[in-house]
């Protein structure tokens, strides 16, 4: 009897401890510790309108509830956020605790001391075990690496450029998926001339940074470059640069009418409405393309890494991160906020809310790969971006002067694209102007 009683007690104890262990949530445990130390703090974060921010907005109420930290989001349009950042950098003061920062801005916020290096924070006691910094793809982490060897942003919305193509059309017309840019041109011509209501290829070519964004991925495959990695000199006036600009101008004739004014929404729309057979665009478009509520080609689209040009196959990386302002007097609470939202532990919720994948664990997950047919192309394209990096090249120059350089290339390139000036004149002009900016 006594033995049976002891046995029952033991079983009950095991059951209770099991239940207790099941209820033991590492996120809640971490948050309780944060709440004890930093609860009641208010932080202000500047963000741009972006799908990732929409995902975060759904996650922030729980963060606030768990940690007692109040978050004020100052949301604005992307260009406005960039100008706000510039104004704050020039005024040498920060009115935010954290800011959403693009790869293009990172050199400026790092070199000016506006943002604080994040290594000490990644290694700090505040960082939870389930944050897992190493799981963020290295190509994305390194977008926010500055000359001092420190990182100035935690990426959460990595982006690359790959090729979208209509599997059904390619199959129906017996055309192989292009693996070279010559094949892309030929396929675009074929569909443009032989399929009613379908243009060959869609992409963006709007004046300014959008033109530079698109053109920059065509530079290296044609042997072009912005800066010679061997000498550090501006090298836009190379035959490869001329060839790449001529190539995207040649593609124009097989694009939708008005492609010269297309920003990304028009380029995406043309493909999603079934009016283009190929699209070379940002990977961020893929979730939209696969959304049957928005896209007529959901489930009919194939994804492949970028084709090869005469000098090889390359792509690039772009993306968004959270940077923490050096002037912030609530760094602990701000870091807790950044670590929570961008962690591996919160990744599934972030992705389910429409966030953009940036972590190896998600891209390599077979279930997620099956759900998201573009994950494999993303991984393959990141290899192409790594290959570009191995040549010492990049699609965004790691310099605080990038926005000036990008604007010059985007204006002169767009002028040549529509025939306002010749390609040679455009290249000579951008070589002279960019050299002047770099020399200053």
């Amino acid at each position: 009897m006594k033995v049976r009683f002891v046995f029952v007690l033991l079983v009950a104890a095991l059951v209770f401890s099991g239940v207790a262990a099941m209820g033991h949530d590492p996120i809640e445990d971490w948050a309780a510790g944060i709440k004890e130390q930093y609860g009641g703090t208010t932080i202000t974060v500047a963000v741009a309108s972006h799908p990732s921010v929409e995902a975060f907005k759904q996650m922030i109420p729980r963060f606030e509830e768990l940690t007692g930290i109040s978050v004020v989001l100052d949301e604005m349009e992307e260009g406005q956020l960039g100008q706000r950042m510039l104004l704050e950098v020039s005024a040498e003061s920060a009115s935010y605790d954290a800011m959403m920062t693009a790869i293009e801005w990172s050199p400026l916020v790092a070199s000016s001391g506006y943002a604080t290096p994040l290594e000490p924070w990644i290694e700090s006691y505040i960082t939870p075990d389930w944050f897992n910094y190493e799981d963020i793809l290295q190509a994305y982490r390194d977008m926010f690496l500055w000359e001092d060897g420190m990182h100035y942003g935690i990426p959460y919305a990595g982006e690359t450029v790959f090729m979208f193509y209509r599997e059904d059309l390619f199959e129906e017309h017996g055309i192989d998926v292009p693996t070279t840019y010559d094949e892309v041109l030929a396929a675009a011509q074929y569909f443009s001339e032989n399929v009613d209501g379908v243009d060959g290829i869609s992409y963006r070519a709007r004046l300014g940074w959008e033109f530079t964004y698109m053109w920059s991925i065509f530079l290296a495959p044609f042997g072009g470059m912005m800066v010679d990695p061997a000498t550090g000199e501006v090298a836009l006036d190379s035959p490869g640069t001329v060839a790449s600009l001529e190539y995207i101008r040649d593609l124009w004739q097989y694009g939708p009418v008005g492609v010269e004014s297309f920003s990304f929404p028009e380029a995406w729309d043309a493909f999603m409405l079934g009016r283009a057979a190929i699209m070379i665009e940002a990977s961020a478009a893929a979730p939209e393309v696969e959304n049957p509520d928005k896209s007529l080609v959901a489930g009919m689209t194939g994804y492949s890494p970028l084709p090869a040009g005469p000098a090889g196959a390359f792509s690039g990386v772009w993306g968004w991160s959270f940077a923490m302002m050096d002037d912030s007097d609530a760094k602990e609470a701000t870091w807790a906020f950044i670590a929570y939202l961008t962690s591996e532990g919160m990744q599934s919720e972030y992705l389910a809310n429409g966030g953009i994948v940036s972590r190896a664990s998600a891209l390599g997950d077979p279930d997620l790969q099956a759900e998201n047919p573009y994950y494999q192309a993303t991984l393959d394209t990141l290899q192409q971006a790594a290959a570009l990096g191995e040549l010492g090249l990049s699609v965004v120059l790691p310099t605080p002067k990038w926005s000036q350089i990008s604007e010059i290339m985007g204006i002169e390139g767009a002028r040549a694209f529509i025939g306002e000036i010749s390609v040679e004149e455009a290249i000579a002009s951008m070589q002279a102007q960019v050299s002047e900016v770099v020399a200053e």
Binding site: L86, V259, E420, Q433
Partner: protein, 300 residues
């Protein structure tokens, strides 16, 4: 009594109002003068937007020289596009606006409702107007739907030949009601006696319009033109949302040039220099228009 007369003689009549208006004038003038001076000062330095202002280096008038003479500068083309835009918007807006105002000045059923509806495009947010324009003028948009229905042809409004025309048409749609409302108000205040006398004398409608309506309305027409002229030269939002100044530089007017140079290319010196020249152009042309208006008023 004598003392009162003396004091009245000594004190000019404008002195009282001048003293009353002086504080407001001083505040407005000093803020405007300080801003203009600061802008001019910025136009003489080499400074990258985003760098602390203490790093600015004085370069004299080199920024002006670069804008006006450098082979890579697109400032001249920008001025040309701005003039096209100015003439392409103001002349049709005035003509259409005046014609509709004359029609609405007659007693017709539904006039007041129509006049009230006219205000809608004017009060819309410019960025929304730009977005509407961007959608309507796309190749598959509403404008091409109408064109195709009537002529069987669709046009590339996003292309270099028609982008500026598209922006001008949007401006005409948005701002013609402004002319209608102001000119209609003016027409309704015209005295009736001269028109009755002209009718008694056997003047035709055209003669009444040419010799009475038009001369009496000219000062108001010029005032409206001056207001719109200053506004058109500062217009940014609609063009920015529709085309960002492109394709190429086909819709880069002066305000867009200033924006792109200062805030995107981050060249504060050249952007400020372009801005100073824009102000000089606006002020000079406004002074000419005001002088013209004074002369017409005097002759009338």
């Amino acid at each position: 009594m004598n003392g009162d007369i003396r004091s009245q003689r000594r004190r000019p009549t404008w002195l009282g109002p001048a003293i009353l208006i002086l504080p407001a004038f001083a505040v407005v003038f000093s803020i405007a003068a300080y801003s203009a001076f600061s802008l001019f000062q910025l136009s003489t330095v080499d400074l990258t937007f985003g760098e602390p202002f203490r790093l600015a280096e004085g370069v004299g008038l080199q920024n002006y020289q670069w804008l006006l003479t450098n082979e890579h500068s697109t400032f001249g083309a920008t001025v040309r596009i701005t003039i096209h835009y100015l003439l392409g918007t103001l002349i049709p807006e005035l003509l259409i606006g005046f014609a509709i105002a004359l029609l609405l000045n007659r007693k017709m059923r539904g006039n007041s409702l129509f006049t009230a509806l006219l205000i809608i495009p004017v009060v819309l947010m410019p960025s929304m107007v730009g977005l509407i324009g961007r959608l309507y003028f796309s190749y598959d948009g509403l404008i091409n739907f109408f064109f195709e229905s009537v002529t069987g042809v669709r046009h590339n409004w996003y292309g270099k030949d028609l982008a500026l025309v598209a922006v001008i048409l949007v401006d005409i749609w948005e701002w013609t009601p402004f002319f209608i409302l102001i000119l209609l108000a003016g027409l309704q205040t015209l005295p009736v006696e001269p028109f009755e006398a002209a009718r008694v004398d056997g003047a035709s409608r055209w003669q009444s319009f040419a010799h009475l309506t038009l001369p009496m309305m000219l000062p108001l027409i010029l005032t409206t033109l001056i207001l719109r002229f200053m506004d058109v030269l500062r217009l940014f939002d609609v063009i920015f949302v529709m085309f960002s100044g492109g394709p190429g530089t086909a819709t880069t007017t002066l305000p867009l040039y200033v924006y792109r140079t200062t805030l995107v290319q981050r060249d504060v010196g050249r952007g400020s220099a372009a801005s100073v020249m824009l102000i000089i152009i606006i002020v000079a042309l406004t002074v000419i228009l005001i002088k013209l208006r004074e002369r017409i008023k005097f002759e009338a």
